[in-house]
Amino acid sequence: MSPAAVAAPGPFVHTLRALLLFGAMASGFFLLIGHHPGAIFIEIANASAGSGYAIGETLLRATPILLCALATLVPARLGLISVGAEGQLYLGAICGTGVMLAWTGPQGLLLPSVLLGGMVGGSMWAMVPALLRTAAGVNETISTLMLNYVAALAVTWLVYGPWKNPQSQGWPATVEFPGAARLANLADSRAHAGLLLALGLAALLYFLLDRTRWGLELDVLRSNPRLEHVTGRRIAPQVLLTMGIGGMLAGLAGIAEASAVQGRLQSDLSQGAGLSGFLVAWLAGNRVGRTVWMSLLIGGLLASGDGLQMNARVPSSVTLVVQGLLFVAVLGAGARWLPDRRKPRD
């Protein structure tokens, strides 16, 4: 039995309620745009899990979302609301690419160094709001949000300016990552080894957060920050640590996207993974297990966009609307309109 971070009321009831609500809202939306809901649901299922290719695409989209969700979840276990995964992802991509561009060492060490560069880059970016928070009490939600714009614009500047590939004929991107700097693909899909890394890290985080003393200490400080002196554990170092770990995870997502999927650094690299990850983490109540499943679900939904466009003749952006409806449904199903919290007796 573990204390819930932001506990959902009864997982089964909650899931059922959310699915019903989602089904109703999505059906309404499909009818509104003039399509039969059943047909589109089947098409979404087909396009996200109907074939080996489809599954590969789903896993491909799920990977950065899962990493960004974990990046949100770790600080959230201390009670921090970080929306900075997006920016940390970009900084991870920048630093990893920088390592690749500057690399002169042996080819065998290139990939680990690039990945490490990405993780360090994300961490460093997360340190800015973390230090602002510990040193000056600056609200981490605002600072991480603002730094997202800075990071995205930094990528744009680099790919239009100093790092632009001279052979790309105006296309704003860096040179391609060499084969030795790319994560291996899984089977013959486009999904890559970053997924395995993400799942491994999720398992490790589950153990650390839900089974160890460190996780318990985070629970205690989240529940009541005034317990610093009772436990003798300071909050400030934990802010730096959890934000740093979060940045590392998001940075890994960024460099994996750049090196394995796009093959180069370019703007609009994240495709909204940072924000999706944030929503996934909070809607999963910041529990690791639920976050993994929800990331796969969202990944599948987003991956089905192309299939929808081709087969059901609806624009692929429909999936973004459906994603929004799914989040609203989960939120709505978890709403506390029923007084379920017991009050202390008088």
């Binding site: 039995m1 089974r211 003393r213 205690v220 005034r226 317990l227 002196h229 202390p344 008088d346």
Partner: protein, 506 residues
């Protein structure tokens, strides 16, 4: 307005909160409603105020049966209630808060709005020390309650219910409240004063009703009741005895030594507490007592001086404060300062040793370790997996005591440990606290209850404006003296000699 409650019953699930209660509330009289925590006093009054609906029974107002379906209806009928927890909005001014509570609040709350002028008059009359422009956040607890009272009065309530108003007041504030209550009664208002303090009854009540386990067990005129029979009705048996500590002539070695310490509101404090000694600390709120306790506990950094426990340096400026198994600390407001409300009791009991737990935490073992402690300190429910936030005030206090006092600490710092507790729970906390002193611990005990301080402490340190102005032998002082020193009236009344002595002392 005269109210008559007959045969009122109310159940919450399996719990019978109020059973067959009869109560008469008379115009122009102050009725003190007494009872232990959970006796049903608040529930009965909430039934009258329309927050809950009775399962059966009749409420008659001036002879007419009345169904009070909501607080709005109650207010409309002229019944008003002042709650223990302030419902004022801290960021707004007193005037704005009152305007919000009007039946038809003005749409424009300008500085000079005419509609608000009458509000100012109410404030001026009932709470003379409070400026209508002051933000509520800047008021003391006593002032908050006065404003709550204004809120009820300005709607012309003919029956005013006060829910334990004196629990958090200083002696001076309590006296002010008592005289206000008498004024209300003189105006013909029917007043119900929910309390568990006999002092309130003696100071301002005409009649007293006692509730126990959901029933009204007695209702008589104050003149006909003596303290012992009231306590007997409240607890259902002879009052629980707390052994007054023995006086020892021999001086034992000092265990807790506060040396020229300054921290927050507490300035330049010198205090020594010997093993086996209970030193009480008295002072009005904001006098620095809480800062003193927090500094000793390490919850507040100290600016100057040092604190020594059993000859070893415990706290000093710029020194990271670590929890010590040798020091037990019961902070004020345990829910806010001492527990993790969302986490289970088992975890809350292990907080002090959190860093000593094995890296992989065995929660079953934590629960196993917690069970006997919960039994020993009679925490209800004794369920290690229950969340601490669901406990009642008394049980929360016992939970903190179980964590802080069970390891035979060398020194104990207790900050208002019985605030809001009923007689039985208070006796239990005192028994534990003074038992530790008998076993040789140094006890520093901050309390607002001067009578209890005088009864149980060996020495009493009086604080005013952050300084210890007196340390006196409890046997040789009176509540009157303490009150005088607390409010800093030393100089004018005792002359220049005393002033010199005072200055040397501080």
């Amino acid at each position: 307005m005269t109210l008559q409650l007959s045969g009122i019953c109310k159940r919450f699930g399996d719990v019978a909160a109020v059973t067959d209660a009869d109560l008469e509330i008379r115009k122009g009289q102050v009725l003190a409603l007494l009872g232990e925590n959970g006796a049903g006093k608040s529930t009965l009054m909430k039934l009258l105020y329309g927050i809950h609906q009775p399962d059966s029974g009749v409420i008659e107002v001036d002879g007419q049966p009345l169904k009070i379906s909501s607080p709005r209806v109650a207010m409309h009928c002229g019944i008003g209630m002042v709650f223990q927890q302030s419902s004022l909005i801290p960021a707004l001014t007193v005037r704005e808060n009152l305007a919000l509570a009007l039946d038809q609040p003005p749409w424009w709350v300008g500085r000079r709005a005419r509609a608000l002028r009458t509000l100012d008059e109410h404030v001026h009359r009932l709470a003379p020390g409070v400026a209508a422009e002051a933000t509520v956040a800047s008021l003391s607890i006593g002032q908050l309650q006065l404003i709550e009272l204004v809120k009820v009065r300005m709607r012309n309530a003919r029956c005013v219910i006060l829910d334990e108003p004196s629990a958090v007041l200083t002696p001076t504030e309590a006296q002010r409240l008592w005289s206000l209550i008498r004024e209300l009664a003189a105006d013909g208002v029917a007043v119900v004063l929910i309390t568990h303090k006999l002092a309130d009854v003696r100071a301002c009540a005409d009649a007293v009703a006692v509730m126990r386990a959901g029933r009204v067990v007695a209702q008589i005129q104050v003149a006909e009741a003596d303290d012992n029979s009231i306590i007997g009705w409240m607890v259902g048996h002879a009052p629980p005895a707390v052994d007054a500590p023995q006086y020892r002539e021999a001086t034992l070695p000092v265990r807790l030594w506060i040396k020229g310490m300054s921290a927050g509101a507490a300035r330049n404090i010198d205090l020594q507490v010997s093993g086996g000694e209970i030193v009480g600390v008295a002072g009005i709120s904001g006098g620095g007592q809480t800062a003193l306790a927090e500094a000793i506990a390490g919850a507040r950094p100290i600016d100057d001086g040092e604190i020594i426990l059993d000859g070893e340096l415990l706290r000093a400026p710029r020194r990271a404060a670590q929890p010590s198994p040798q020091l037990g600390y019961i902070p004020a407001e345990p829910l806010r300062n001492a527990v993790a409300p969302t986490l289970p009791l088992a975890v809350n009991l292990a907080l002090k040793d959190l860093r000593g737990l094995p890296f992989i935490v065995d929660r079953a073992a934590l629960a196993l370790r917690a069970q006997p402690l919960l039994e020993r300190f009679a925490v209800r429910p004794a369920d290690p997996s229950a969340a601490a936030g669901t406990l009642s005030g008394g049980n929360l206090q016992k939970l903190v005591a179980a964590r802080e006092l069970s390891q035979q600490p060398a020194a104990v710092v207790a900050c208002y440990p019985t605030m809001g507790l009923d007689i039985t729970a208070t006796a239990q906390v005192y028994e534990t606290l003074f038992g530790l002193a008998r076993a040789g611990a140094a006890v520093l005990w901050i309390s607002e209850d001067l009578d209890d301080l005088l009864r149980y402490a060996h020495r009493i340190a009086v604080m005013a404006e952050g300084r210890v102005v007196r340390v006196v032998d409890a046997r040789l002082s009176t509540a009157f003296d303490l009150g005088r020193w607390m409010t800093g009236q030393t100089q004018e009344e005792t002359g220049a000699a005393a002033t010199r002595q005072h200055e040397v002392h501080t």
